[in-house]
Structures are given as C-alpha cells and as structure tokens.
Amino acid sequence: MSAILEQKCPCCGGAVEFDTGAQRLKCPYCDTEFDITAMPEDNSNQVEQVSWNSQNSQWNAGEADGMSVYACNSCGGEIVADATTGATSCPYCGNQVVMKGQFSGALKPDVVIPFKLDKKAAKAALKKHISTKKFVPKAFLSDNRLEEIKGVYVPHWLFTCDTTADASYKAEKIRRWSDENYNYTETSYFDVYRSGNMGFDNIPVDGSTKMPDDLMESVEPFDLSQAVDFNTAYLAGYLADKYDVTAEECMPRANERIRQSIDDAFKDTVKGYDSVQSQNVNMNVVNGMYKYALYPVWLLNTSWNGNKYTFAMNGQTGKFVGNIPTDKKAVAIASFLLGTGIGALIYGLMWLIELL
C-alpha cells in the first residue's frame, strides 16, 4: 500500500506538469503557471490511502514481491507499478502521479536536475542522430517506429572524495646511433614512481537496475551546478524511479573510474621517455561523501525487424546516444568500391612515378 501525490491546479483542478521552457509548473488545461515553491509538497488533504487485499490466493509466494498498487486520486483507477517506480501516469485518466513514499525520509533525493529539454527536442535529436549516420539500413530509416518516448528521472549516486595515491610505471628510453660499421640501439629501463593527491566531485553512478549502465554513462556529463534541492513538483509529467542499487553497491564502480583517472593523471607527469607502462596504482579515499540525485534522461524506444533499439538523451545538455544497426552489405559494397578506387589511384601513381 502506498500513498500517491498529484500536483493539482489551484484554479481548475487539472493535473499540472513541469514546463521545461519556463522551468515552472504549468496547467495544460488553463495555462496557469506556478512557481515550484508555491506548490505544496504534500497535499495531505487530497491524499488517499486505500488498502487492497487479495481476495483469493492465486499469487504464489514471492510472486507479487516488487509490485506496488496505488489508487489514482483523480479517477480512482488502480495503478500497478513495480517497487521502484517513483512517478508515473494513471493508465485510465492520464494524470501524472508521484508515489511520495518513494522519495520520503532516507529515500529523498538530495538534489534533482530539472529537465531543460522537452519531448519535441528529444524527437528532433533522434531524427538528427539517425540521419547523420552512415551505412544505416534503408529499411531502418523508413520502417523503424518510435514506440515510446519518456522522460525519466534516473536515480544516481554522486561520489565526492579526496584521494591520496601512489603509482609505479615502467618506462623506457631508446637511443640510436651509428658508426662506420654498426647501428646501435640502447634501451634504458626505469622504474618510475609518483605519489600525490587528487580530488573528485560528484562522480555519478547509475542507481537503477532498470537502466543500462553503459547507456547512462554515455549521456554524461550533467552540469550539477544547475541542480536544485529535490521537490516532488519537478517530477510532474515525467517518470521517476527510486534507487534499487545502494550507494555501497555503486562504490566499486566509482572507485574503478577514480583509479583510472589517477593513473591517467599521474602518467601524464611521467615525461621524457619513449614508452611508459602502468604497473600498479594504490589509492586511499579520504573525506568520501555521497549523495542521492535524480538526473533527467529522455528514453526513446524504437523497433525494427523484431529488435528493439533504445536511445537516450541527456535531458539537460541534449547529448544523444544510441546504437544504430549497420547495413553489412552496404559496408561490403562501399569497402569494395572505395578499395578499387584507392587501388586504381595507387596503380596510377605507380605509372606516374614510372614516367618521371
């Protein structure tokens, strides 16, 4: 059982949505706009709690785990969602609802980056993304159908820390010279050591198992300077999930990225060698802190040829990513034609050289 929250227009009672252009709440029915702060965080007088008990025992043990049932405040319709859904829309009346229990107490996000780009921008970005790619199957361009587009606030854990680290490298210097009879190559080997400090701010790690990690990391970075304190009003009109991967579970990924960054940064200070190879990096994380944030991401699902393709757009910066199928036949033909052309050019160059 869960309570839900709807942002209602004080003028007409319609469900209000967050407007990305105005960065305010707007009623789509009467066009009235409201500041986020003007809306009550919790309209408790409108919140209704309804108990739903199974009347028969058809669910097997554990089968209903991870499932939550809510009642729409507007129409009374039953909203079935999974355990992590934090905001969605009523399938019957379309009202945007926020499961406030998902963001209360310890589950309340520290910050949220509001959507800056709307659905229209996401659609345009998808079109541009596909049209600018080469060797895309023609059928994909014509037949692929945009099945779903949704703005999702994706839960992220943001890790901030200072690090002290030391790293060792194997380096080589190569010197070549000649005398009358011999060519000489002298390779000198060095053991290089570096230690130092480095700080990181707000490294994001995806806190939702629903979202592919590679997709979420591909739309990075987000500009956290535009983040605001969390308010459920920002979720109006979008989907949202609460985290289902804890900060502790996300730490290894953050550490992995930190370690690689330290390795890269320290390696850049090893100069004057012909080659440098990393041996090992030891790091200590101090002053480590993490916070919980919701990042805006547009997800676009298309289908073609029985396969689903998921694209994502950073809802703040507009960075668009997504894998597109490649027409292998077109690649083969293009390789052949280009190869033939280059081959002919090379042969022509041989002719020219012969003539000179």
Binding site: F190, L215, P221, S261, G322, I346
Partner: protein
C-alpha cells in the same frame, strides 16, 4: 583502430617507397641506388652509356644497389632493365652491395654475347678498385664486344614487332622475353590489395560511429580543478640494453 590505420598507412608508404626506389632509375643507363657515385662521375658514365646505345643501338646498363626489393637477384636485374628502357636489345649487370653479388640480364640481340664475353665485362668492372673506374671499364669492354659481336648480324626488317623471335636459342643467362614499358602487371593485385585494406578500414571507421553507447573509462571530467598535486616523484634507472647490428657495407666494393 587508430593503430591499425597508422599501420596500414605506414605499409602503404613503405610499398610506395619501394616502388619509388626502383623507378627512380627510370630512363637511366647507370643506376646508383646506393648513392656511391658523385654527380660528375654519374653524368660522365651516363653520357658514355647513352653514346653506346645511340651508336650501336644496344642498351648497356649498370646498377649499384643495396636492396633488391625482396626479389631474387636475377628477377631484380630483369625488373630494373625492363623498367628503365624500351630497347629490346641490351644488357644489365647489377651489383648487390649488401650481398656483394652480381646478376646479369641479357635481352634481345644482346643474347648473342657469349659467356666468355660477359665474363670479360664482369672482369673489367671487377678488376678496378674504384666504382667509377670499374663501371667505365665495363662500358669500354661492352662497347668493344658489341661492336665486334652483336651487330655483325643482319638487322631485322623495319616494322618487325618481335625482334626476340630472331634471337638464337642458345640463351646463356635468361631465356625469357623482355617486358616492354609500363608498370608490371603484378603490381595491379598489390595496388588493389592495399586499396581494399585502406578502403575497408575507412568504411569500418565510419560504420563504427553507429555505436555510441559505451562505458566511461575514467572520471577525469569530475576531477576537482587544481586538486592534482604531485607530492612524491622518483625516476630510478634500472639497467640498459645495447644492441649492435652490422651496417651494410656501402663504401667498400668487395
């Protein structure tokens, strides 16, 4: 991916360089790939060889090289000859300085020169310590032999397109016929092969941009500005390894 492209470009460059190293001799009688002769020596020998060809109609070539482009010595001699003249009648001696070996290719009516005369030409070159003097002696000996031997036969009728048909079958050094001008046909598959590899790499590079979803390698973008401080640094020398390779002998003739 980038490494593969660089490797291919380098391969192409090396291949083209090898073509250039051979074809730099084009239209010359004296071919000095090892850069042994001075300019004035080269000019003098070249004009002498040109005089012989203009006078007797027989092309006399000499090639100093330290690289046979991966070919056998005989194939290299034939390749150099056919790449540098369209005269069906002639002889070339190549001196591979790296291996200190000689290779001879005889074409057309010059095949009438017998083994003893060819040995005499080689001896003329070999008996002189200096390259310039040796080549000059070789040309003088060749002129003498050509004047006596080769052109004592009846010249083929004008318009006869295949002078090799008249060549006696007692071929001493090379029984194959001469290739006439142009780029050898074997270079076509080589050029196409290189073209296909480059073409595929370019197309593959473009097609790979269709994949834009990948994990981030590091968190460099989240590094706090100015936070990198190196507190300890040590570069310790471990050991050194010296390799010595003998150079090809270019300054000594034998």
């Amino acid at each position: 991916m980038k490494k593969r492209i660089v490797a291919t470009v380098i391969t192409l460059f090396i291949c083209l360089s090898s073509f250039i190293s051979v074809s730099a001799y084009t239209d010359s009688h004296i071919l000095d790939a090892s850069d042994t002769l001075t300019n004035s020596e080269y000019d003098e020998l070249e004009s002498y060889a040109t005089y012989i060809e203009n006078t007797y109609g027989c092309c006399i070539m000499f090639c100093l090289t330290d690289d046979t482009d991966g070919m056998t010595g005989d194939d290299f001699a034939k390749e150099v000859y056919s790449s540098n003249t369209d005269n069906a009648d002639g002889i070339i001696i190549t001196h591979d300085l790296w291996n200190n070996s000689y290779h001879i290719y005889v074409s057309g009516n010059a095949k009438q020169i017998d083994d003893a005369d060819i040995d005499a030409m080689l001896d003329a070159y070999d008996s002189n310590e200096a390259y310039y003097g040796g080549i000059n002696d070789y040309l003088e000996k060749a002129e003498e032999i050509i004047a006596e031997t080769v052109y004592s036969y009846e010249e083929p009728a004008k318009g006869d397109e295949s002078p090799q048909d008249d060549v006696p079958s007692n071929d001493t050094y090379d029984g194959t016929t001469d290739e006439k001008g142009g780029v050898p046909l074997w270079r076509i598959p080589v050029a196409l092969g290189i073209g296909f590899i480059i073409g595929f790499l370019i197309v593959y590079g473009i097609a790979s941009k269709n994949k834009s979803v990948r994990m981030q390698k590091n968190a460099t973008v989240y590094t706090r500005p100015g936070s990198l401080v190196i507190t300890g640094s040590a570069d310790n020398f471990l050991y050194k390894n010296l390799e010595r390779r003998e150079k090809p002998k270019q300054t000594e003739k034998k």
